[in-house]
C-alpha cells in the first residue's frame, strides 16, 4: 500500500502534502470547492466564507483549514450548497452588483457562483453602498461599490508584484478598499496595467479602462462553462508565478 497522506472530500480520496490546506490539496487534485478569496499563488485569507465545508459536524473554511490525514470532509451537501448560495446572495445585496450594467458580466466569479449555486434572486434588503470611485489611474478604474473585500488585489500586489498598492480600511459596514498613497488615489501608487494585481479582481471592482466590451455579453467565460468546470479564472489573468 502507498503511504501517501490523504483525506476525503465527499468520500473521494484527496492526497496532500503536510502544510497544505484542504483547498490547496483539493485544487491540486482537480476537485472544485466554490470560493472567491482563495488563489493558489497567494496566502490563504478566509474572508468570503464561500468555501465552507463540514468536518465532524462543524463548519470550516476549506481555504484556511490545514489538511490532516484521513479527515472526512463534506462539501457538496445540500445544506452547504444552500449556505454558500446565501453567502453569495449577501454579497449581491451588499454591493452594487447589478449585472446588466456591469462590464465584467459573464466573466464575474461572483455571478458565476450565483449561477452555479442556483441563485435566482435574494430576499435581503439591498444595502446600496455609496463609496467614492477612483478613476485617477490612466489604465485602471476602481468601482468601489462592487468590492467584496476578498483582498486578492492587496495580496497579489504584495506577494506577486512586491508593491504596496492596496489596503483595507475602516470597519464593519464602513469597510473600504483604498490605494496606499497620501491622496488615496490609485494613480499615486506604483501599480501598472501589467501587474498581477491589475488582473485578479474576481468581480467588477478593479477594471481595465480599455477593452471591456471586446467580447460581447453572452459569449464570455462563464456563459460558456460553469465555474465548477472552468475554475476561478479571468480571461486576462497573468501568469500566477509569485
Amino acid at each position: 500500500m502507498t503511504d501517501t497522506l490523504q483525506f476525503f472530500i465527499d468520500q473521494q480520496a484527496v492526497p496532500f502534502q503536510p502544510g497544505q490546506t484542504l483547498m490547496q490539496a483539493a485544487q491540486a487534485a482537480g476537485l472544485y470547492i466554490p470560493h472567491l478569496c482563495f488563489h493558489d499563488g497567494l496566502t490563504p485569507h478566509g474572508s468570503c466564507r464561500v468555501c465552507i465545508v463540514e468536518i465532524n459536524g462543524s463548519i470550516r473554511a476549506a481555504c484556511t483549514t490545514p489538511a490532516t490525514a484521513n479527515l472526512q470532509v463534506h462539501s457538496e451537501t445540500s445544506a452547504l450548497r444552500t449556505q454558500r448560495r446565501q453567502l453569495i446572495e449577501l454579497l449581491f445585496a451588499e454591493g452594487n452588483h447589478l449585472c446588466p450594467s456591469c462590464e465584467v458580466s459573464g466573466n464575474c466569479q461572483l455571478q458565476a457562483l450565483a449561477y452555479d449555486l442556483g441563485m435566482t434572486h435574494y430576499e435581503f434588503v439591498p444595502l446600496d453602498p455609496h463609496r467614492q470611485n477612483d478613476g485617477s489611474h490612466p489604465d485602471l478604474f476602481i468601482e468601489q461599490d462592487r468590492c467584496i473585500f476578498c483582498e486578492l488585489c492587496t495580496r497579489s500586489a504584495q506577494q506577486q508584484d512586491h508593491k504596496n498598492v492596496f489596503g483595507i480600511g475602516g470597519r464593519g459596514a464602513d469597510t473600504y478598499l483604498f490605494a496606499q498613497a497620501d491622496s488615496s488615489r490609485l494613480a499615486d501608487t506604483a501599480i501598472t496595467a501589467q501587474d498581477h494585481a491589475a488582473h485578479i479582481c474576481p468581480v467588477g471592482c478593479i477594471l481595465p479602462k480599455q477593452g471591456s466590451y471586446q467580447i460581447p455579453i453572452g459569449q464570455r467565460v462563464y456563459d460558456e462553462q460553469p465555474i465548477h468546470l472552468r475554475g476561478n479564472h479571468r480571461p486576462d489573468e497573468q501568469d500566477a508565478t509569485p
Binding site: 435581503f124 434588503v125 475602516g170
Partner: protein
C-alpha cells in the same frame, strides 16, 4: 512637558487627564507627548498607541497630524486613516472641545438613556459632539457616558441640564464637579478573590522559589479555566506556550472587557490591581516570558494613569525588571479586539481583524512569538491559587469548574454590582442576592451569551452548566424581548470588524430585516440568516452575532405553542 499633561505624584506625566484638547495641531507638543508615552523612538507598530495620545490631546487626528505621523513611520496618510476609521474613539475632525458619547447598552437604554441623549443633543446646539457608543462597562451605575474619554456616571435629567450649563459657560472639563465622574466598585458579595490583596514582595519570593514547570503543574492541578468566557484550561495554555519554540515570549492580560453588561474586570483593576499584576508576573515566570502587556480597553482610559503609576512603583521596587516587565497598551473602541488574535493585531498597531486559527497564539502570537493571552480575572485567580494552594483552590466550586466567579449584575434589580460566588451557583441564587424585581428574562454572558428564562434558573453557572460569562442582565416582565434582541443585533452590527461576508454583510441585513419584520413588511428568513451568520463566520464575534435573534425567535415560538395548548 506641555500644558496638557500634568505630572502625577509619582513623577510620571499624566497622559490622559481631563484637560481640554489643544485647539491647534502642534508637532513639537506631539513629539513631547509621544516621548512621554513611549520613552523611546516609536515606530509603525506603535502607531495605534500614538494615534490614541494624539486623539486625546488634540481632540482629533487632523490632516497635518496624519502627515506628520505617516512620515514618522514611513507610511502614507491613507494607511493612517484606514486605522483611524477602524477604531470608534479615533476621529479625523473635531467640531467642539467636548465630545459626549452615551453608552448604548440595553440596560441603560431601558433606564431612559435615549431621552437623556436627545435632551443633551437638542440642548447643546453645537457646544458638544453628542453620540452613542457600545457599552462602556458602567451599567451598574448608568446611564453613563464618556466625555472626552472620561466616564460620567448616574446620569439624570437634572445632571444633563447641569452639563448643558457647564458647556454653555465653557467651563473646562477639569473643573467639572469631581463627583460626576465617580466610579463605584459596587461590590455586593466579596469572595476570596475580591478580598485578595497580595503583598507583591512576598508573592514574588514564593513564586521565584518554584521552578517554572512547578508553577504550570500547580495551575494544571488546580483546574483553573479561562474566565474571559471560553473556559480553556489555563494550565494547558501555559504549558503549550512554554513548550513552543521561540526566542522570546509574551504574556498579555486581556482587559478589553467589551461584552455589554460586563464590568468585573474594571472592578478588579481598580480594587485588586496587585493581584492581577502578580498573576501576570507568575505567568511570565512559568512560560519564561520577559514581556507583559496589559491591553486596556479605551473605555477604561480613566484607569490608565493609576495603573501606570502602580507599574512604576513595581519597577521602583524591582518587582518588575529586566526579567519581566509590564506595559499598558490602550484600545480605542472596538469590541472585536477582545478576541485574542484581533487583540494581537491591535497591539501590533493594525486594525483589529481576527487572525486565522490555527496557528494559535501560544505558538504564533504577538510578533509571531509564543504568547499567553488571559483575562484579568484569570490572572488574579492564578495568583490566588499559587499563594493559597491547589487544595484550597479546588475546595470551592465544582469538579469541572473549580474556584469562584465574578458576576457583573445589572438591570431590573435592587442591588446591581459585583457578586463573587462559587462556580456552580445557580441563576436563582444570583437573582435572590441582587433582589431582582419580577424577573422574566436573564441574559447571561452578554449579547454573545444566552438568554435564559425561569426554566433555566436552577442550572449551575459553570462551564458544564449554563454560561458563567461574567455578566448577568436582569429583565423584568415589562421588557419586550424584541427590543433586547434588536439592541444586541445592532451592537454586533456596529462592532463587526468587516472581515468576513456573513458577519459584515449579514449583520447589516439582519438588522434591517428585523425592522421590516417588526413593521409587518416583507423580510428575509431571519432564522436562516442568523443561523448562517453563526455557523459560517470567521471568528467568535460573528459566530455568536445571530444568537439574540435566534433566542428571540425560539422564545416567541415557544410562547405561541403555549398559547395554542391553552
Amino acid at each position: 512637558m506641555t500644558s496638557s499633561s500634568t505630572a502625577s505624584a509619582s513623577g510620571l506625566p499624566r497622559l490622559f487627564s481631563r484637560s481640554a484638547p489643544l485647539p491647534q495641531w502642534d508637532a513639537a507638543a506631539a513629539q513631547a507627548l509621544l516621548q512621554a508615552r513611549f520613552g523611546r523612538l516609536w515606530q509603525r507598530q506603535d502607531l495605534l498607541q500614538a494615534l490614541i495620545v494624539i486623539q486625546h490631546h488634540f481632540g482629533a487626528i487632523t490632516a497635518p497630524a496624519q502627515t506628520w505621523l505617516a512620515r514618522h513611520c514611513q507610511s502614507n496618510t491613507a494607511d493612517v486613516r484606514a486605522l483611524i476609521h477602524f477604531y470608534h474613539f479615533l476621529q479625523e475632525e473635531r467640531s467642539t472641545p467636548h465630545q459626549i458619547l452615551f453608552s448604548s447598552n440595553i440596560i441603560e437604554e431601558q433606564q431612559g438613556m435615549r431621552t437623556l441623549f436627545d435632551e443633551l443633543r437638542m440642548g447643546t446646539h453645537g457646544l458638544a459632539e453628542v453620540g452613542l457608543t457600545s457599552c462602556i462597562g458602567l451599567s451598574d451605575q448608568g446611564p453613563a457616558a464618556l466625555v472626552n474619554g472620561h466616564p460620567l456616571t448616574r446620569l439624570s435629567g437634572q445632571r444633563i441640564r447641569e452639563i448643558q450649563r457647564q458647556l454653555q459657560q465653557q467651563i473646562p472639563l477639569a473643573q467639572w464637579p469631581q463627583n460626576w465622574f465617580r466610579v463605584d466598585d459596587n461590590i455586593q458579595t466579596a469572595g476570596r478573590l475580591l478580598q485578595f490583596q497580595p503583598d507583591p514582595a512576598l508573592f514574588l519570593s514564593q513564586l521565584l522559589a518554584q521552578a517554572p514547570q512547578q508553577v504550570i503543574d500547580r495551575v494544571q492541578q488546580s483546574g483553573l479555566r479561562g474566565l474571559g468566557g471560553a473556559g480553556f484550561p489555563t494550565g494547558r495554555k501555559w504549558q503549550a506556550c512554554a513548550e513552543a519554540p521561540g526566542a522570546d515570549r509574551y504574556v498579555i492580560c486581556n482587559a478589553d472587557e467589551g461584552e455589554p453588561g460586563t464590568f468585573k474586570d474594571r472592578v478588579l483593576l481598580q480594587h485588586n490591581l496587585d493581584a492581577v499584576l502578580c498573576g501576570m508576573r507568575m505567568c511570565g515566570h512559568a512560560v519564561s516570558a520577559r514581556h507583559g502587556i496589559l491591553y486596556l480597553r479605551g473605555e477604561y482610559l480613566f484607569l490608565f494613569d493609576a495603573i501606570n503609576t502602580r507599574l512604576q512603583q513595581w519597577r521602583e521596587q524591582q518587582w518588575l525588571n529586566a526579567d519581566f516587565n509590564i506595559e499598558i497598551q490602550l484600545g480605542a473602541g472596538a469590541y472585536v479586539c477582545g478576541e485574542e488574535t484581533a487583540l494581537l493585531e491591535s497591539i501590533e498597531g493594525r486594525r483589529g481583524i481576527p487572525r486565522i486559527k490555527p496557528p494559535f497564539p501560544v505558538r504564533n502570537g504577538l510578533f509571531q512569538l509564543p504568547t499567553v493571552v488571559n483575562n484579568v480575572e484569570t490572572f488574579a485567580a492564578a495568583a490566588w491559587l499559587l499563594q493559597s494552594g491547589v487544595d484550597a483552590f479546588r475546595a470551592v466550586g465544582t469538579e469541572q469548574s473549580p474556584g469562584t466567579r465574578l458576576h457583573s449584575v445589572a438591570g431590573d434589580c435592587e442591588k446591581p454590582g459585583i457578586y463573587e460566588l462559587p462556580m456552580g451557583a445557580s441563576v436563582q441564587d444570583l437573582l435572590q442576592a441582587c433582589a431582582a424585581r419580577n424577573p422574566a428574562l436573564v441574559q447571561l454572558g452578554g449579547p454573545s451569551g444566552v438568554m435564559s428564562s425561569p426554566a433555566d434558573w436552577q442550572q449551575p453557572l459553570a462551564f458544564e452548566g449554563i454560561s458563567p460569562g461574567g455578566s448577568v442582565m436582569v429583565f423584568d416582565a415589562s421588557r419586550a424581548h424584541f427590543n433586547i434582541a434588536r439592541n444586541f443585533t445592532a451592537f454586533f452590527q456596529q462592532e463587526s470588524c468587516g472581515f468576513c461576508t456573513p458577519c459584515r454583510a449579514g449583520t447589516q441585513v439582519l438588522l434591517r430585516d428585523m425592522d421590516c419584520a417588526a413593521q409587518g413588511q416583507q423580510h428575509a428568513d431571519l432564522n436562516a440568516l442568523a443561523t448562517l451568520i453563526n455557523s459560517t463566520s470567521h471568528c467568535g464575534l460573528g459566530q455568536t452575532a445571530g444568537r439574540p435573534v435566534l433566542h428571540w425567535l425560539q422564545m416567541n415560538a415557544a410562547k405561541k405553542t403555549e398559547v395554542a395548548h391553552d
